[in-house]
């Protein structure tokens, strides 16, 4: 059925396209929010990605690859937006936000804040890799397919992203100690 909808949308059927994206918007929004760490920016990125997808839909070779194609497009939009945002805010320090703890108690508020700060220090490409792997559960091969990169490159980037995240957390811990924050 989705293949039919994709083909109809490729032929200019706007209703078919809206039907296609309606059932995918939650998942895509969740991905965007996790890469960008901001609900408003995630909403903007999702809207932009869905409009670009409509515009370029005729370029999709295989309707069965619609989901991977759309996800890749969204990731690229998020990376572009995060890169722009990073330039604007590179001189700003992200402050911890006091918010309600998550339902589970496996991570403390301090842990979450520290992870958030560390994650925001990463280049957008590494954030995207981590979201694909840890949120969507993608293997390096699936990441490679989604991002259109060789599997070896995906494995290498994932490794570097983990290392960068660890380094970011350690740097955050050091600065927290200097500033008297709980690490």
């Amino acid at each position: 059925v989705d293949r039919d909808l994709v083909e109809a949308a490729r032929n200019g059927d706007r209703e078919a396209y809206v039907d296609l994206i309606r059932v995918r918007s939650d998942r895509l929004f969740a991905i965007a929010q996790r890469v960008l760490r901001d609900i408003d920016r995630a909403e903007d990125a999702l809207q932009d990605a869905l409009v670009i997808a409509w515009r370029d839909l005729r370029g999709l070779r295989d309707p069965d690859r619609f989901d991977a194609w759309l996800q890749r497009l969204l990731i690229n939009v998020c990376i572009a937006q995060a890169t722009r945002e990073r330039r604007r805010t590179s001189n700003l320090r992200v402050l911890p936000i006091d918010g309600p703890a998550a339902p589970d108690d496996l991570l403390s508020v301090a842990d979450r804040d520290q992870l958030d700060r560390g994650f925001r220090r990463l280049p957008p490409e590494q954030r995207a890799i981590l979201v694909l792997h840890h949120y969507l559960g993608y293997t390096p091969s699936e990441i490679a397919e989604t991002l259109g990169i060789p599997a070896g490159t995906a494995r290498s980037r994932l490794h570097h992203a983990h290392r960068a995240m660890r380094a970011a957390l350690e740097a955050d811990a050091r600065s927290s100690v200097r500033e008297g924050r709980p690490a």
Binding site: V18, Q33, Q47, V51, D62, L106, D111, L130, H162, L169
Partner: protein
């Protein structure tokens, strides 16, 4: 924290937390925006970014510099031969008489590309940006929808009728044994190289080529069909990539399964020009033949003058 717990487990936990429902307005906003957003036409879709090797990148850079230099040279005063930098005296011009192409005005070009002439009156017209400069004659009702350095497009009066695309500075896409096409490094494949490529392509049905002479430029024409049952290069992929643009954005152009292409490939003073009549897969062979017959009289009027893509002295037709 990182010393106490594994970083991967932490990321699993942390990323699982967060919003999982998109605001309802997202779909409403997108539905509204796509009402005003046309889809990119099939000819322009970027099937995928092609691999461009170092040689090709260098070649493209050199070509870009050459084009800029030639354009700049052409803009110098007292340019007399279309290449620029000529003597101070102005010899008699061999330019054709003034044409009916309107002065630049605001028209809706395809995909918002700038520079097209839009609807054409009956008479002679010439490209503004496409080079080598294309000079041609149409009856009323035709539209010039694209006029950029390497692509020129003519739409016939009936919107459903196959259109004419003219390409220059494009390369052959090699995709003989994988789903990953790559552009041939040669910046300007010859007419014969194109014909050999098309005839040998495992994803195409091709007719025997025919020798042609259009406006004094010699070449060959050939009909090809992207056949669904012969597209084995990349399972599930209904398109056959054929043409690689060399100018940014580097992209490729292909024929979708069942579509029809009538290609005329000309050698214009050393520059290869592809003239393509494209028919959608929905057209029958007889409909496509009729469309080619309707387009051919316009193609037969084509002449090529001097322009940025011909980096050598030439005489205006």
């Amino acid at each position: 924290m990182t010393q106490q717990r594994d970083i991967e487990s932490l990321l699993d936990l942390w990323l699982s937390d967060g919003p999982i429902v998109a605001p309802d307005r997202v779909i409403d906003v997108v539905a509204d925006r796509i009402e005003r957003q046309a889809q990119r036409p099939a000819w322009r879709f970027h099937l995928r970014e092609i691999y461009v090797n170092t040689i090709l990148r260098a070649g493209a850079a050199v070509a870009a510099i050459a084009i800029v230099a030639v354009i700049g040279f052409n803009l110098l005063p007292n340019s007399s031969n279309g290449v620029g930098g000529g003597p101070a005296t102005n010899p008699p011009s061999s330019e054709p008489s003034p044409t009916l192409t309107a002065a630049p005005r605001t028209v809706a070009c395809e995909d918002d590309l700038p520079g097209c002439a839009g609807p054409l009156q009956a008479g002679e017209h010439r490209s503004r940006n496409f080079g080598p400069k294309l000079i041609y004659t149409t009856p009323t009702g035709w539209t010039n929808a694209i006029d950029i350095a390497d692509i020129y497009k003519l739409d016939p009066p009936e919107a459903t009728t196959p259109y004419i695309l003219i390409w220059t500075n494009v390369g052959i896409i090699e995709s003989s044994n994988s789903c990953a096409p790559s552009a041939r490094a040669s910046p300007n494949s010859t007419v014969q190289e194109w014909i050999d490529f098309l005839m040998a392509h495992p994803g195409l049905h091709a007719t025997d080529p025919v020798l042609v002479d259009i406006g004094g430029s010699k070449g060959q024409s050939i009909d090809v069909t992207a056949s669904a049952d012969r597209v084995k290069l990349c399972p599930g992929d209904p398109n056959v990539p054929l043409i690689a643009r060399k100018t940014a954005p580097i992209s490729e152009y292909g024929a979708s399964a069942g579509s029809w292409l009538h290609l005329t490939i000309l050698d214009v003073r050393g520059t290869t020009v592809l003239i393509e009549v494209y028919g959608p897969a929905s057209a029958s062979s007889s409909e496509f033949a009729a469309a080619v017959a309707a387009a051919q009289p316009v193609i037969d009027t084509f002449r090529f003058g001097c322009g940025p893509a011909v980096p050598r002295p030439c005489t205006q037709p």
